[in-house]
Amino acid sequence: MTLVEFLQQLINGLSLGSVYALIALGYTMVYGIIGLINFAHCDIYMVGAYIGFFVSTDLHLPFVPTLIVAMLGSAIAGVLVERFAYKPLLRKASSISLLITAMGVSLLLENGFNAVFGGSPRSYPHNILTQKSISLGPVRTDSLHLIILLTSVVLMVLLQIVIYKTKIGKAMRATSADKDAAALMGINVNATISATFAIGSALAGAAGVLVGILYNSIDPYMGIQPGIKAFTAAVFGGIGMIPGAFLGGLILGVIETFVTAWYSPLSGAIGFIVLIVILIIKPSGLLGKKVSEKV
């Protein structure tokens, strides 16, 4: 592999990784706040892609409004899932019941979209973002990958601002540290949990639109593979840690791009292989802290 090829693959890897990072943030935020692996999160990503598809195809909206509408729609979908499926179980049921409910929601969204919209893949309108090839010195890449990378970075910067500079961000951090103490300090814990779902889901919805445009194909089961990889990214970075999800996503995207270029049959298993290696070597992830049960 020449240096130029290497740099081209690196850009592809980073843009793929930034999409994983966007999804991973939702996993990590929800895990941080209620300790649930939200299985349905990858389907919210799919929902976002579908909303984006409909508004861009039927309403002919350009890229940015499409993205915003899809994010809003996904946020609503995420909050609905949380309100109707998870909230009745929170603190009352075992974590395994909650996990199974999340699996149920995931299957419901996948099979529901399959039943309503059909299983055949759909594609975004071609003119939503034009694909131009761009040369950075000898390295050639295309505008799509760069726009995806750029959009993801902007969204993640926004997330950092929300979490560290706003009142709701402070409430989220407090709730994830200690729900009871946060409630005693006058924080509306239920609203904060919903807000967390909304923000995480909006990011996943944005990722859905970006991937829908990049691969030009969406279907009801499109969330499964990226979902697994994004979850891996979250664990890789240390689940519950927001910078970890970002870092984990980028690293995983790069690893996947290079491994697939080297031996393509592995692409379906690479996320899991990385995940298992990490969990067995350092279960707390890159940035996570080891927690042991108090005796």
């Binding site: 179980l89 019941s97 199974i100 409910t101 699996m103 419901l108 529901g112 969990l279």
Partner: protein, 315 residues
């Protein structure tokens, strides 16, 4: 006759009687080929569910990759049969291969806890599916054909009875006691001298053996196997069977597996929508359970079954 001997005799007699009745109905044509197939699927699913039950409900280790061992059992049994080994021996060897994989996968992963264990087992499951997809000798992604239809109702029924017998013996023994103590409190179990890793791996290996058995039977029933039918969706099905069956009891697990195997068949006229109703039902049941609302007919059915099960189970 000892109390145990009596229970065992009643259980075996009841099993043979049930088998005789069902066989007679099949012979008379009152149970047609379609129903017969559903019955056989129920038996195979019960074997799978009970093996998952040992790991999830008795040992408290949430596995989301149990279908991998079914895949290994199915492929191993079919491949072994194709080199000229008799049917019965192929199934047994297939289960042993699955158990070996269970041991090898369990050893490193069972150090992990809770959600992490769940996701790692799911990962192993998916890796095994991808591996099989890439082994052309096993048919790759297209699946394996040319497996003779050796599995009949007697095979699956008595394999199920065998599984119930063995696993109920396991849970009522010092090994079973150790597994239950792992579920209850690992730290206390270790303080009472129990090597928790050893018993987790033991449960996992035993579970893999019986999943492999189910896989072998499945391969010779379907006469065609493909990797994706064993992916983690199948594992999730298994988790659902055992969780709805209630914690650590055999009768509930058998009942829920039976109902949940019939349900998708009963909903078949709804086409694509049946796959919507199934998860919807699951969510509703989880919510109702937490609110302590019981669906009357279902809970009646379960409690009656449980009482009957206590009398009959050879435990």
């Amino acid at each position: 006759m000892t109390a145990y001997g009596k229970k065992l005799a009643i259980f075996l007699a009841a099993s043979v009687a049930l088998f005789a009745v069902l066989s007679a109905l099949m012979f008379q044509g009152l149970i047609d080929a379609y129903l017969q197939r559903i019955l056989m699927t129920i038996c195979i699913n019960v074997i799978l569910a009970l093996s998952t039950n040992l790991i999830i409900n008795f040992t408290g280790q949430l596995t989301l990759g149990h279908s991998a061992f079914m895949a290994i059992g199915a492929y191993a049994a079919a491949a072994i049969f194709k080199v000229g080994v008799p049917f019965f021996l192929s199934i047994v060897l297939g289960s042993i291969v699955a158990a070996i994989f269970g041991f090898l996968i369990g050893l490193p992963t069972l150090r992990l806890k809770g959600d992490y264990l769940a996701i790692t087992t799911m990962g192993f499951c998916q890796i095994i599916v991808v591996l099989i997809q890439n082994i052309s000798q096993l048919g790759g992604a297209q699946g394996m054909t040319g497996i003779p239809g050796k599995t009949n109702f007697a095979w699956v029924f008595f394999s199920m009875i065998f599984t119930i017998l063995i696993l109920s013996h396991v849970v009522k023994s010092r090994q079973g006691r150790a597994m239950i103590s792992v579920r209850e409190d690992e730290i206390a179990a270790e303080a009472m001298g129990i090597n928790t890793t050893r018993y987790k791996v033991m449960a996992f290996t035993l579970g893999a053996f019986f999943a492999g058995l189910a896989g072998g039977l499945y391969a010779f029933l379907m006469m065609f196997i493909e990797p994706t039918s064993f992916n983690y969706f199948k594992s999730i099905d298994l988790v659902i069977y055992v969780v709805l069956g209630g914690s650590g009891n055999f009768a509930g697990c058998i009942a829920s597996t039976t109902i949940l195997t019939i349900l998708p068949e009963a909903l078949r006229p709804l086409n694509d929508y049946r796959m919507v109703i199934y998860p919807l039902l699951l969510i509703v049941i989880m919510i109702l359970r937490v609110k302590n609302i019981r669906i009357p007919w279902l809970s009646d059915f379960f409690s009656r079954f449980r009482k009957g099960g206590d009398k009959n189970a050879a435990a």
